[in-house]
């Protein structure tokens, strides 16, 4: 499980985000087992769980920071790194793997120059390997944000990434 925080992006939470987080903490504070849902909503607010956010959660719920960190690093859904504008997730579940999703993953990793759990320097793409999104009929599958791409070949990947890159350059102009 990914646990090291290698992130070099400076934390830039806003006042509005902090207010939202306080409301969430208030809502769950007295419930048994509050930590998980609070972290889930905190990640929804900030997009990831930097140490600054973990500190706020620890103080708000009155639990040790070590416990918050322990839970945040235990579950793969929680990320200590920010995600890219386009989040690429390649399914490495068994059904996709036997149909060649390992090669798909490697190809994307090569093309973008990033590894599992990392984000490109320009903040545009991040890459994760996920375990089964349940669309096994379309194997091998990857998702880019909410868009699902199925029955992929290595060549499709080149084309799809080109499309996104073109979109980014268009946006810049």
């Amino acid at each position: 499980m990914e646990s090291k925080c290698t992130c070099k992006v400076k934390f830039s939470g806003t006042y509005q985000q902090e207010c939202k987080l306080r409301d969430v903490i208030e809502k769950y504070k007295d419930q048994e087992g509050a930590l998980m849902p609070v972290l889930q909503e905190a990640q929804g607010i900030y997009g990831y769980l930097p140490i600054e956010v973990q500190r706020m959660v620890a103080a708000g719920l009155n639990v040790p920071l070590s416990e918050v960190y322990g839970v945040a690093t235990f579950y793969s859904q929680f990320s200590l790194n920010p995600k890219g504008k386009y989040q690429i997730s390649v399914c490495l579940g068994t059904a996709c793997y036997v149909k060649g999703s390992g090669e798909i993953f490697e190809r994307i990793s090569d093309l973008l120059g990033i590894k599992d759990g990392e984000c490109t320097e320009d903040g545009m793409f991040s890459l994760t390997a996920c375990r089964c999104i349940g669309a096994c009929g379309l194997a091998p599958v990857m998702t880019i944000n909410d868009e699902v791409y199925g029955k992929l070949t290595v060549n499709d990947v080149d084309r799809i990434l080109e499309e996104y890159k073109a979109k980014i350059t268009e946006g810049e102009q």
């Binding site: 509050a34 849902p37 839970v71 579950y75 579940g93 068994t94 793997y97 036997v98 375990r131 349940g134």
Partner: protein
């Protein structure tokens, strides 16, 4: 609703409403079909039906999974039962015009498996469906999961009504005992016994817990039930609550299943509104409510004690048993925990009787089992078969065999905890005991098919990579042992293996099995042991001949261009990402082995089959 009579009245009205339209269009809204665009199709259908002025005659329902995911998006139109597959949004107007306006099914868009010369078969007569027996999936692909009245129309909540008004907890246990139902999450523990443990404990508070943390990658049985028929699980949990004396239930569901989570939320809300959850259900003294808890992506949380730790808000680490959760579980209180599919069987057993249930299946495994067919198989999807069906029937008849003219090599059941079944054991009758006997296990129902292009050593390595990542790290054999197993496999697949490594693998695997704390570690070596047992020759080929017979392990591969077949079209050279291919136009090309990164892009592009690896 205040009593059973009101429930029955609602059922009769709901039934009438469901059958009132001349045409009923069912479109699959499961994850598979949604991923290929069924939501847009649903909207297009509504628009088109309105446009041709047939809204009064047509009822459009977005259902759960039909099962034949490989052919998605799927739609069925009744009364004919016409099965439209691989739908394209551009064809919707044509289909509506022909089928709804002109009254004849649009043959050109029907699934070819339903066409027999001029005759059109109903989908239930196709090879895929006719050998199945849909008990837990009976409503999937039939009702709208976000409408409680559809569920009630098909006798939903009648089992709960019967239990809380006519039966004692002991009556329920007797029925379950007679039915022979065993846990569908993988372990196969008798459900009646589990419930009895909890019932017999004295406590001020007890809990019911539904394990919907379906972590086996490539398995989606529970997801489909939750997406397509969430009320069946709620109803069964309430029955369990009445039987053991609990008034609160939790469903622990993967956050990666957004549609299932959404449908569960809607279902719980609707059940509360109708008075089928909450205080004094149907006017009785029995109260029961259910809350959702979302998992956050940890395979080990499928283990019951880890799951409960996670609900309590901690790291999902398992603890030693005893005490068993039935005695001391969630928040230290007696907790009955069952899997989604186990629960989904229970209302049917109550309504149809234990004899009906035990008439299906084998001596030690009663009823049916849902499998998620995946991998190298024509009909990828979800099937429910009576226990005792042979693997051959599942793969060749229901599953439609192996595509692209390849040969079957093995089927993996039980995911990272299970083992593979080789071709020579294909006639095995699928039940709990038979699968364990041959070194695999039932598991939760993932069934991945592999063909000649799958390397079994690589598969074993793949599963270990998974268990290493998912090991919680609490006990040493699992945390460190699996890593060492992986390293030995890595050594073999990179061409540095020795024959002694095979003995080391086996010895270490058996140690890990014996001394790990929980099910994850105890079963993690199974993929290694079963591939060693049935595919030792592949391991030996990697070690002695330094070859990967399936052509998967990269370090042992070399790409070659056959000079006789190569036409010199230059397509491969243009697509090689590292410029390793050279040659003149219209003359055979060659690959520079020192530059080649073995990505396979050239093989994909070559139109003449001139490039091979091996």
């Amino acid at each position: 609703m205040r009593n059973v009579r009101e429930l029955m009245e609602l059922r009769d009205i709901a039934k009438e409403n469901l059958n009132s339209a001349k045409y009923q269009i069912l479109i699959c809204g499961g994850t598979g079909c949604t991923s290929s665009g069924s939501l847009k199709l649903y909207e297009a259908l509504q628009k088109e039906v309105e446009k041709v002025g047939k809204s009064d005659e047509v009822q459009i329902i977005r259902t759960g999974c039909f099962g034949l995911c490989a052919l998605g998006p799927i739609m069925i139109i009744y009364p004919e039962g016409s099965f439209y597959s691989m739908l394209d949004i551009n064809n919707i107007p044509d289909i509506i015009q022909k089928h709804i306006v002109e009254g004849t099914p649009a043959k050109e868009y029907l699934y070819e498996g339903t066409l027999d010369g001029d005759k059109i078969m109903a989908f239930s007569d196709t090879d895929f469906y006719k050998k199945q027996k849909r008990v837990t999936l009976r409503n999937c692909g039939v009702i709208a999961p976000d409408n409680i009245e559809h569920y009630i129309a098909y006798d939903g909540y009648m089992a709960l009504a019967k239990v809380i008004t006519e039966m004692t907890p002991d009556d329920v246990l007797d029925i379950l005992e007679k039915s022979g139902l065993r846990g569908r999450g993988g372990g196969g523990f008798p459900t009646a016994r589990k419930w009895r443990f909890s019932k017999e404990v004295e406590a001020d508070q007890k809990y019911i817990c539904c394990n919907a943390d379906e972590g086996d990658p490539g398995a989606f049985m529970d997801r489909s039930i939750l997406e397509g028929d969430p009320h069946s699980v709620l109803e069964a949990m309430a029955i369990a609550g009445y039987t053991v004396g609990a008034d609160q239930g939790y469903i622990y569901v993967r956050a990666e299943y957004p549609i299932a989570v959404e449908h569960l939320k809607i279902a719980i809300e609707q059940a509360r509104e109708k008075g089928l959850l909450g205080k004094n259900i149907l006017g009785t003294d029995f109260s029961f409510d259910i809350d959702l808890r979302l998992g956050a992506g940890a395979f080990v949380c499928g283990e019951e004690t880890a799951l409960m730790r996670s609900i309590e808000g901690h790291r999902g680490e398992p603890r030693p048993r005893p005490p068993f959760p039935a005695i001391k579980g969630l928040f230290g209180k007696p907790t009955t925990e069952n899997n989604v599919e186990t629960f989904a069987n229970i209302p049917q057993i109550i309504l149809n009787g234990p004899e009906w249930f035990s008439s299906m299946g084998t001596e030690n495994s009663k009823g049916t089992k849902v499998f998620a067919l995946g991998g190298k198989i024509a009909h990828t999807g979800l099937v429910e078969i009576p226990m005792g069906t042979s693997l051959r029937e599942v793969i060749e008849e229901i599953g439609g065999g192996i595509p692209n003219g390849k040969t079957f090599k093995a089927a993996q059941t039980g995911g990272p905890s299970g083992g593979c079944i080789p071709a020579e054991l294909m006639d095995i009758k699928i039940d709990y005991n038979n699968l364990i006997e041959i070194g695999s296990m039932m598991g939760s129902g993932g069934l991945i098919v592999m063909d000649e292009d799958t390397c079994m050593v690589d598969m074993a390595k793949f599963f270990l990579e998974f268990t290493i990542a998912e090991s919680c790290g609490k006990c040493t054999p699992c945390r460190i042992g699996t890593k060492r197993l992986y390293e030995i496999l890595e050594k073999i697949t990179s061409g540095n293996g020795e024959l002694e490594d095979l003995d080391r693998l086996e010895e270490l695997a058996n140690h890990i099995k014996e001394i790990s704390l929980c099910g994850l570690g105890q079963t993690a070596p199974n993929p290694v042991l079963s591939t060693l047992k049935y595919f030792k020759d592949e391991y030996i080929a990697h070690i002695v001949e330094k070859k990967c017979p399936a052509g998967v392990c990269k370090a042992l591969l070399a790409y070659k261009i056959d000079a006789d077949k190569c036409k010199g079209c230059t397509l491969c050279a243009r697509n090689c990402p590292v410029g390793a291919i050279s040659g003149e136009v219209k003359k055979p090309h060659t690959i520079d082995k020192t530059k080649c990164v073995k990505c396979g892009a050239c093989i994909e592009k070559c139109k003449f089959g001139a490039i091979s690896k091996g």
